[in-house]
Structures are given as C-alpha cells and as structure tokens.
Symmetry: none
Subunit: 421 residues, 2 copies
C-alpha cells in the first residue's frame, strides 16, 4: 500500500476545542481501523467553522484516501459538516425524501412533531449514499466525490456513531476491499488482581510478537488484549487460542470472561445454568447493584429484585436488621451486612441474597470506619450467611460504589464456581 492508502479521522466540534468533551469517538474509530488492518496516520480536530473545516478537508484529501468525520450533523446552524463538504466539492445538496420520512416517523414514535430545522438533516450531496442512523435523527453519508477518495460522516453522539459504524460502514469497507489482511483480537477480563501482578505472571506472553498481548486496567478491572495478524479470522484465532489458554491457566479464578462479557453477564449465566435466583439489599450503592445486574437482557430469569435500604429504619422494617446491632456495631458492619443479605433472601424467597453497606463518602468517614470501608454480605442455601470487609480507600464516591457492586457480583461468581468443583 502506498503512503496515501490510509484513513484519517476528522472530529468536528468546537466543544472538543474547548475541552468540554473527551474525544472518545477518535479512540473507538482508531481501534476499529487497527482491528480491520486499515492504516491510519493522522487525526484532526476542527471546530464548527466552515473555512477552517474546509482547510482541514483540503489537507486530508491530499494525504489520506478514506476520511471519517464525526460531529456536525445536527439540526442547528453550527452543524455544518454536510454543507461544508458539498460546498468544498462544488456539488449541490439534495433533500432526500426517505430521510425526511424516517425523521418524521421517529418523532411520531416519541409523540413529538418534527421541527422545521430538522429538514436540514435530510440534505445530502448529490450522488452520496445514505449511511442510516437507526437510533438517532441524523443520518450520515457514504460518498466517493472523486475516484480513490471515500468520505464517511457520522454524528458526534458516540452510541449512534458506533451502531452506524458496525451496521453499515464496516460491511461497506469490506466490500471496497479495505481490511483484507486483518487483525483479530480477543480481550480477556480479570477481576481481583492488580495489573502489575498479572503482568508479572504473564511476562512471557507480553513479549510475544504475533499474537501480541497488551495489558489495560481501569475501574478495578484488568484486561489483556490478544491480537493476531493473519489472512483469515480462523488463522488469527488459531494463533490466539493457545495463548488465551495459557493466560487463563495462570490467572485461575481471577479470569472471569472475554470480549463483551461483564461480571453481571457471567454471574447471570452461572445462576441460569443452576436454576438459581438472586435478590439484593443495598445501602451505600442505592440501587447500583440491581441496576448492574439488570443491564443484562433476560436477567429476569434469575433476578427477582431487592430492597434499597438507604435509611436505617428501612433496614429494620423491611430487612429485619436488629436495632440493637445497628446501635452497637453501626450500619457499616459485618453483622448488618449479614442480616441485610439474609433478610432480602428470605423476603424475596431467592436462592441467594447479596448485600452492600459501606461509606461511599465524601463525608461520613471516621478514624475507625474510613471512607471506602464496605461490607458485603452473602446469604445462600441452608441459610448460610457470610460477610467480607473491603477497603477501597478515598477514591471518590462513584468509584467506591462501582467497586462495591462489582466486588459483590465477583464474590458470588467465585462462590458458584467453587461450589461446582
């Protein structure tokens, strides 16, 4: 491939130049281009200004052959991507009846009336194909304004852009012959082990060249991405498989899943396999554990519900926590965590009851019970009840709550796997 056989990502939006949002779209697209084996040498960010946009476009046309734009497709006057592209190539904008119909229908579904400014979103340059947007109002375009130059436009909303990329852009690129020698990856997911410890265990694998193994960490989770370059997906997977097995073997129970798996989905599968059910009792997470469990479609097969006992009186009235234990040991204690778990299991009649009580901060910590102290309770068959104490440190309210919920899911996951042995 020559130097210019490459893609360029052009992110449009003054909010990026003001630092109001993080350019996660560029990262997603960069990962996707890498995955497809499409070379990618430059990224540009430009604001909502037609002259500067067109200058950036002129530069990109010279050095790249596939231009991927995000942002600037909305209905307001500062959304100028489509208009600026058509003007640059001196091609008229044509109103597409099918886009207008689609927008009107989406508004109707939500019980709203389309406003006149949405009309603008139905305009595309003559000759451009529609890049459908199944979840939002603004479609993008797929266009070859001249031989050897392909343009794709996406809205700036990440969720809309990602669906459009997977559903339409990737198949289009494959048909055009991009991404033939491909890179395939699998991401292995770990919980309960530090990145540095896992990296030491996997030192040999981290040295490999094909496949490569790269570590990532964040929000309590560690990931290892195994990437293989090969002519076909099957060949790539054959390179990945033995390395994956080595990594899983050396991590033991700290490995919990791969790719799109989450702690909630993996735990859900284990419960479903066993025909078991779960209920939750939450204090400091305020519903976050239930929310996480129910992100999984079909979770109603094993999740019955729970009690958010933010107030101590609710712990007493609805979960049967003993007033005396609350007074003597405090709401953040082994005793209360255990009684919450047992109480919700009994009240909802489930196989398992999981509870969380802790100090998420920023206030409420003391010398003996600091911010980040969390007790998790687990009640199970034969009325067995246990609790565990966690110290998450002063890492901010949101992270403490997240780590609490994930740790609860992880504990029951390990329990089920160990019981099965």
């Amino acid at each position: 491939m020559s130097e210019t056989d490459s893609a360029e990502i052009i992110s449009v939006g003054t909010e990026l130049l003001l630092g109001e949002i993080l350019n996660t779209n560029a990262q997603f697209l960069a990962q996707e281009l890498a995955r497809l084996g499409i070379p990618h040498y430059y990224q540009t960010v430009v604001g909502d200004n037609i002259l500067r946009f067109q200058k950036a476009l002129a530069i990109a046309c010279e050095r790249s052959r596939l231009l991927i734009f995000t942002g600037g497709l909305g209905p307001t006057p500062d959304d100028l991507t489509t208009e600026a592209i058509a003007d640059f190539f001196q091609v008229p904008l044509i109103e597409r009846a099918e886009i207008l119909d689609d927008i009107a229908q989406k508004y109707a579904q939500r019980g709203r009336v389309m406003s006149p400014s949405n009309r603008k979103q139905a305009l595309l340059p003559q000759g451009a194909d529609i890049l459908p947007n199944p979840t939002g109002s603004a479609p993008g375009m797929l266009w070859q304004p001249r031989p050897g130059l392909t343009l794709m436009t996406f809205p700036g909303v990440p969720s809309e852009m990602k669906i459009m990329w997977h559903q339409t852009a990737v198949p289009f690129l494959r048909r055009q012959g991009w991404g033939q020698a491909t890179i395939h990856s699998r991401t292995l997911r770990f919980w309960g082990i530090a990145e540095s410890s896992l990296a030491e265990k996997a030192a040999a694998q981290l040295q490999l060249t094909n496949p490569t193994v790269a570590p990532y960490a964040g929000n309590g989770e560690v990931r290892l991405r195994i990437s293989a370059k090969a002519a076909t997906e099957a060949e790539a997977m054959a390179l990945i498989q033995p390395v994956e097995q080595q990594l899983r073997d050396l991590a033991g129970l700290d490995y919990y899943g791969a790719n799109e798996d989450s702690l909630a989905s993996v735990l859900g599968d284990l419960l479903k396999q066993r025909g078991q059910t779960l209920a939750v009792a939450e204090s400091c997470t305020g519903g976050g554990l239930g929310e996480l469990i129910t992100t999984v479609p079909g979770s109603s097969a094993y999740f019955k519900g729970g009690i958010i006992a933010y107030d101590n009186q609710v712990k007493i009235d609805l979960l049967g926590v003993r007033d005396a234990d609350l007074a003597s040991q405090g709401a953040v204690s082994d005793a209360v965590a255990q009684q919450m778990a047992a109480g919700v299991r009994q009240r909802l009649g489930t196989t398992w009851g999981l509870s969380i009580t802790g100090i998420a901060g920023p206030d409420g910590g003391t010398a003996t019970k600091p911010v980040g102290l969390v007790y998790i309770g687990l009640a199970g068959p034969s009325d067995q009840v246990e609790s565990q104490r966690y110290l998450f440190g002063s890492r901010g309210r949101e992270l403490i709550r997240w780590l609490s919920s994930c740790s609860a899911l992880d504990w029951l996951r390990r329990k089920l796997l160990l019981l099965n042995r």
Copy 2:
C-alpha cells in the same frame, strides 16, 4: 487577533493512532487554552514517524503561532519529537549538562543507575530553553525557532505534563502576552425539550457574538453554553447574566439547572428545602433510579430507599400491587405504576413515592406494548396518585432505562416547582 494568532495541540504517539489510549492530554490542554482565552482552532494526532511528524509540523507552522506538543520525549528509539523538530528547523541538537545531571540525580534517588539511552533526553535544539519536568526524567523545551512562532514540548505522561504546564508554561505564556483576555462560560441545562425546539426559541441568542450561545444535546438532555470573552471574570459574568436570564425565561420549566447541576441534585435541593422525603419502586430500571438519586452526596437527608420489584411477585408481596390488575392490565400499565408508587410511599413512610415500570428491551415488546413503553407513577401528600406514559422508542436498553429514571426525577422536580407557585 488575526487567524494565525492561535494555538495548536499536536499529540504524538502511535498508541493514539491504534486507539490504545484516550487522548486526555488534548482535552486538558484545550480546557487550559480556553481558560486563558488563547484561541485554538486545530488539534492534530500523528504517530511516531519522522516524515509524517514533520509534515504535520509544516502544516501547523502555517496556520498557528503557538505549537504545543505532547509525547515522544522518552528514551526509546521511537521517541522522536525533539530530534524531528531540530531537523525540521535545521538547528543542531546540543547536550545540556544540567539535564543530564538532573536525570542522573533522579535515578540515584530511586536507587537506580541511569541507562545510556537516557542521554538522548538531555539533547535540545540550540537556543531552546529547558521546560523542567519536576516529576519525570524527560524535560520539554520552550523555543522560538523564528519570530512569531513558539514551540512547547511535553512528555505524554499526563501527570508530568500537567505539572510542567502549570509551573512553567502558563507563567511563560503570560509573560509573552498570551491569555490577557479570558473566556468564561456557563452551561444551562434543559430536560423535556428537543434540541431543535430549544434552538428555534433561542434563535436570537444563538446569533450573538459576545457572549456566544452554543447548543449541545445527548442522552435526553439539551445544554446551552454561554461563553463571554472579557478582561476579567466579573466582566464576563456581566455579559453572560442577561442572556442567561433570557434563555431561562423562554425555556420555563424545561430549564432545570446550570454547570454541575444534575436532575438528581436539583430535585434533592427542592426536597431538602421542603423537608420532604422520597422512596422509589423500580421494575425495568432495576435500581437505576435509586442509584441516580444517591450519586448526590448527602442524599440520605431526603432519600429513604426503595423496592426493586423486578419480578411480579415482588410487586404483589412488597408493594401491594393487585394480582388482578397485573393479570388484566399487565405489569406495564398505569394501574401498576400507580400502585407501585403508592405502595412504596406507604411502606417507607415518605412524602413522595416514584415508580417506574416499562419495557427496556431488546425483547418483550408487542404491537400494543412496544419496547420503549414506560409508565412512571407518582404518589404524594393526601394519598394523591398519578401516572404518565412515555414512549422512548427502540433506542437501546441502556438509553431507555436512563431516560426512564431521568424522566421520573424531572416529573417530581416540575411538580414541586408548580406546587410552590
């Protein structure tokens, strides 16, 4: 200021082009430039390749007057920023004894010996000033290779870059006369109105030049950012204040807060002012409403807790929903939403009870009850109970659940404001 009196951020690193890391440095620097009132029209990302780096540098020199580089200052062969800049301007690299001493001393402090590759980090173009790095080994440079062009280089490690920026770069820029006039912004937040409708109402304000008003939208919320350029913060705020008042007046109750406010924090303040309390009953959101309410520190002052009634039996047993209504009208109905709200209010003894029952999908929709259909119930003083029906459309499970929780918060917010009139 002329068009070229602006800054450009150039992020260097193949890991950015592979999507392995998120470009948080660009966001930090963008925010800082905005804060200092330094115009900033372009950002570029380029990999660890000397030719492409120099091409990007050539373009940046043409259109910008202050070039800020991050990345490529390390000791390994792929770290090429300093070398490529010196070569581009045809100026020799000179080894700086003070840098070499500093690196050797830092290594000694950590009980390590400097490796020969670190020697490279002591090289700077002739005439360039050292930009000291107090926490890492690689210093940057401050250099005017020709009149009217300033270059600054920083390591890619965010923590090192930020300290260098604040300690040395900002004072340097101020001395050079940059950042005399500053930009201040306020972000107004709206719920329950489409971006296009709000933009039409605010058409006159969107035309202003100082302050400017820019719309953003995402996840059901619309924001208007008012930005004013002035010599002092007080002057900027004096420009912003009347425009803010106009926008709030024309939006009415659709305006809910500014800057860091959230629907949950605004509702929390209203409840606290009134000495009232809240409980929630959740089906499809699975705890997400409670989770959202308790993101606010201090929410225990008004939030007592709730019942996650994911399973219908839990709706009957814990919330007192009538079996007959579940059978005849289904769990997703006005009747069930109302009984859930009334039930949780009664069980937890709160002023208000909010409930959510709906079809989040992807499965479970029918012709009469499609995915995205959600009922919200609200029970309040004097045992008054109401419900509202929402159609969020097939916008994905997570967005439907998010919109449901936010709509519930928004309904009670409006209710409290209207009762107060």
